[in-house]
């Protein structure tokens, strides 16, 4: 099966890299799915979960807060200032952050916490 190489990079570290068959990410105009052989693309990402279907059938979900997606030569890079894999996210902490953000009416923090929780749940909506 055709594969594409994915690099998920945050500003200060390399979050995840590997081979994948499908990557779904969210741009301002809607979700976009990228499969091997896609046209070269450079897009802005909305904050949201990025789902990667790896070549061995597993699914990797990461919470991405803003950033870019660029695809060329069967190589896809997701650039984000902050990116976390679902496995790395501390659910308890994210929930507490969500409550605190709601209490303080901090919309940005609330959204960040929500995205984290959604990434953990693996829901892409």
């Amino acid at each position: 099966m055709a594969e594409l190489h994915v690099e998920l990079v945050a500003a200060d570290r390399n979050v995840w890299s590997g081979e994948a068959t499908l990557v779904v990410a969210r741009t301002p105009s809607g979700d976009i799915g990228i499969m091997p052989g896609h046209q070269p693309l450079l897009g802005v990402l909305e904050s949201g979960p990025v789902t990667v279907r790896t070549s061995d059938g597993a699914t990797v979900v990461a919470a991405v807060h803003g950033g870019f997606i660029s695809f060329a030569d069967n190589k896809l890079s997701v650039l984000a200032e902050i990116a976390e894999l679902a496995d790395e996210i501390d659910v308890g902490r994210a929930e507490r952050a969500l409550e605190r953000a709601k209490a303080e009416a901090d919309a940005a923090a609330e959204r960040r916490a929500e995205i984290r929780l959604r990434a953990v749940a693996g829901v892409h909506r």
Binding site: A10, A11, L42, F68, S70, A72, E81
Partner: protein, 306 residues
């Protein structure tokens, strides 16, 4: 104990104490260089991909974007100078300041006004002492800069850049920082961040391989929007990289300065203990000759009374 000897002993004690401190600082700096180098390496993939993307948009689209087009008559330029918060790092901060002075002179010779932005307490102190104007300054994080720090700094720069020239905005963005070449060599460099000079971005970041054309990108949602979002991130990432390299250079410079301080202390202790030995020996000799002299005087006296 003689007065002379006591003075030497006291000085040896104080130099030994200083040596312990410099030795500790040297070792701390040495361990931090490794950490700082790792941070530089960890930030490289992001910077590389981002530069690649910026180059792709800027060359692959015909969009006129304020961040990429050169002003016809640049009136004002911003210079970001990266120095350290703490001293005891040899010529690290003053070399960076000198490089910034040179750049400022060059820009002024080209007829541009220069607004200086500073990172690090040393640079701020230098400018304040000379009562030179500082547009903005950030301190407190030069040891271990985080991306959030870089974002703060870059935010100030981008704001100055996007302000209309007539309203006090700048047309160019330069950054002066100390490049970490190796453990023994750090050189201050100045780089023009904006407007983007594409040939430099390419050769600098080893992005485009020789002769390889960049693919024709599809932009999502549009080239302008992508560029709008991309360029601030690009500035942030370049500032972040500069801060990290400067931090690594600062630690390397401090390690070297502290190593030579320790060596000097050792040298001083050696020569002081020689002097102390000589003083002690002189004291003993003196005492012996006093005793001998006293004894012979006594002997003379008893011989005379016989």
């Amino acid at each position: 104990m003689g007065a002379q000897l006591r003075v030497y002993k006291r000085r040896i004690r104080s130099v030994t104490a200083t040596k312990k401190i410099t030795k500790a600082m040297e070792m701390i700096a040495a361990s931090r260089i490794v950490k700082a180098q790792r941070a530089v390496a960890a930030s490289t993939p992001y910077a590389r991909e981002l530069t690649r993307a910026v180059t792709a948009v800027a060359t692959g689209s015909t969009t006129e974007h304020p961040l990429t087009t050169e002003a016809e008559n640049p009136v004002r330029a911003a210079v970001l100078l990266v120095t350290s918060d703490r001293g005891l790092a040899g010529g690290y901060s003053s070399n960076a300041i000198k490089a910034a002075d040179k750049l400022t002179e060059r820009l002024e010779a080209e007829g541009k006004q220069v607004r200086t932005f500073i990172v690090g307490r040393k640079g701020v102190a230098y400018y304040n002492f000379r009562q030179r104007e500082v547009a903005d300054a950030w301190t407190g994080f030069t040891d271990q800069p985080t991306y959030a720090d870089a974002k703060k700094v870059a935010g100030g720069l981008i704001e100055a850049f996007t302000t209309e020239t007539a309203a006090g905005g700048v047309d160019e963005l330069h950054i002066v920082f100390t490049e970490f070449v190796s453990m023994v060599s750090q050189t201050p460099v100045d780089v023009r961040l904006l407007p983007l000079s594409l040939d430099r971005a390419e050769s600098d970041e080893e992005t485009a391989k020789e002769g390889e054309a960049l693919p024709l990108y599809d932009f999502e949602p549009s080239a302008e929007d992508v560029l709008d979002a991309l360029l601030p991130r690009y500035v942030e990432s370049r500032v972040y990289n500069a801060l990290l390299q400067s931090a690594a250079s600062e630690h390397a410079a401090r390690r070297r300065a502290m190593k030579s301080a320790t060596d000097n202390a050792e040298e001083l202790i050696k020569s002081l203990s020689r002097l102390a030995s000589a003083a002690r020996q002189a004291e003993i000799t003196n005492e012996i000759s006093e005793i001998v002299g006293g004894a012979s005087a006594l002997a003379d006296a008893t011989a005379g009374s016989d």
